[in-house]
């Protein structure tokens, strides 16, 4: 399918009965939605389940979708709402895991003869500490930070996704940065990296 066809055109094709258009939309966004969810819930299986739920909900609602905002923003909005539901459910029925997010081994394997496996383990530990700091942000701060920094959404798009004013998004982003600064400062003050 032509890559130049924009998302909204594909939605129109889907609404006209062309099912293949939805396949193309899934192909375009499954990695982005999965990575956003993985960073939000920190568990591969849950992120996969929620990704499926996002596209399931999108498929069912797409027939009546109006292009008031970008399709991608709408998709992130569904994902963000499901993340809220997920955290609510998890708060009601907490499941304690030793380490939900295991970084695959290939990221730790020495890539050349000069690489140091000990350094790899230290980096893994450092990565875990930093991700824990991100997880300590409030749900809104974390959502704003991840959508803007890692999903590449503009502040306006983040505002539409999370249903808040652009100014509020900026306030959450500033608070997130200051909180992260407080949490991570000991790392560079103690020369831990």
């Amino acid at each position: 399918m032509d890559k130049l066809i924009d998302d909204e055109m594909l939605v129109a094709q889907f609404q006209a009965g062309r099912q293949n258009a939805f396949d193309e939309l899934m192909k375009r966004y499954k990695s982005k939605i999965f990575s956003y969810l993985l960073r939000s819930v920190r568990n591969y299986e849950d992120a996969e389940d929620i990704t499926i739920e996002v596209f399931f909900k999108a498929y069912r609602a797409l027939g009546n979708w109006q292009p008031k905002a970008k399709f991608s923003t709408w998709l992130y909005k569904i994902a963000a709402n499901l993340v809220i539901d997920y955290h609510r459910a998890k708060a009601r029925h907490p499941v304690y895991a030793l380490e939900d997010l295991e970084i695959p081994e290939e990221n730790l394997v020495a890539t050349d003869q000069y690489s140091n496996p000990v350094k790899g383990v230290e980096e893994k530990e450092l990565g875990r500490i930093i991700r824990e700091a991100v997880d300590q942000l409030s749900p809104k701060q974390k959502a704003v930070f991840i959508l803007n920094r890692y999903e590449g959404l503009q502040l306006k798009e983040v505002a539409e996704t999370l249903g808040m004013a652009e100014g509020t998004v900026k306030i959450h982003l500033h608070r997130a940065m200051k909180r992260l600064q407080t949490l991570l400062k000991p790392l560079w003050e103690n020369n831990e990296f």
């Binding site: 990695s31 999965f34 399931f56 970084i103 930093i130 991700r131 803007n148 890692y150 982003l173 200051k178």
Partner: protein
């Protein structure tokens, strides 16, 4: 000495690249004479470098990504099959249950006739290579399509592992996955034939 009132807000926006080119230029001029802001920019840039390092180490599992479409259509098919409970439906179900015996007999006779016809015409054991799908198929047809593609993918992986990598154990594992997915279809026979040939290779290598 009072702290610069621009230090935090502007430093965060500058480090996050959220300032417009004109605002960034003005702030860079301010940075030349403000140590508070310089320290703040350095600090927030370090924060972002650290979070980038940690978050970019998060990789997506390819296998899970490949199955997303199939699982979405599976989910859709499951939901469509769920009956909507209602009083009228319950009443109709009670009436239908009176005719269940007749329906079972009719369905069994029809199935037997269908199998006999398929055997007589000799089409029973011809594998279906690929479904030709139109652009407006149902979710069920799409699941079938993805299932067929998945089976073919595992068969290809098994052949590659068997012939090119000469790894009988790995090939057998792919064939086992085909057998799991292809139960009750003609692909099962293909997988079993390949499995026999693969086992011969494994025993020849002394596994």
């Amino acid at each position: 000495m009072p702290k610069c009132n621009k230090a935090e807000g502007h430093a965060i926006d500058y480090a996050s690249k959220l300032l417009s080119p004109a605002e960034a230029k003005a702030f860079e001029q301010h940075l030349q004479n403000c140590s508070d802001c310089n320290k703040a920019v350095e600090s927030f840039t370090t924060v972002l470098n650290l979070t980038d390092m940690a978050e970019n180490a998060v990789t997506l599992p390819e296998a899970a990504l490949q199955d997303i479409e199939m699982n979405v259509y599976k989910r859709l098919a499951t939901t469509q099959e769920e009956p909507t409970p209602s009083r009228i439906r319950g009443f109709l179900a009670n009436i239908e249950s009176l005719f269940q015996w007749h329906k079972t007999v009719a369905a069994s006779a029809f199935t037997i006739a269908l199998i006999t016809a398929a055997v007589l015409f000799g089409e029973f054991f011809q594998p279906k290579m690929e479904l030709q799908l139109t652009e407006s198929q149902s979710a069920d047809a799409r699941i079938e399509q993805y299932l067929q593609q998945d089976i073919q993918r595992h068969l290809e992986d098994a052949m590659i592992t068997h012939h090119l990598r000469n790894d009988a154990w790995e090939a057998e594992s792919h064939l086992e996955r085909v057998k799991e997915q292809a139960q009750g279809t003609d692909w099962m026979r293909v997988a079993e034939t390949l499995s026999v040939s693969n086992t011969t290779l494994a025993s020849g290598k002394g596994y």
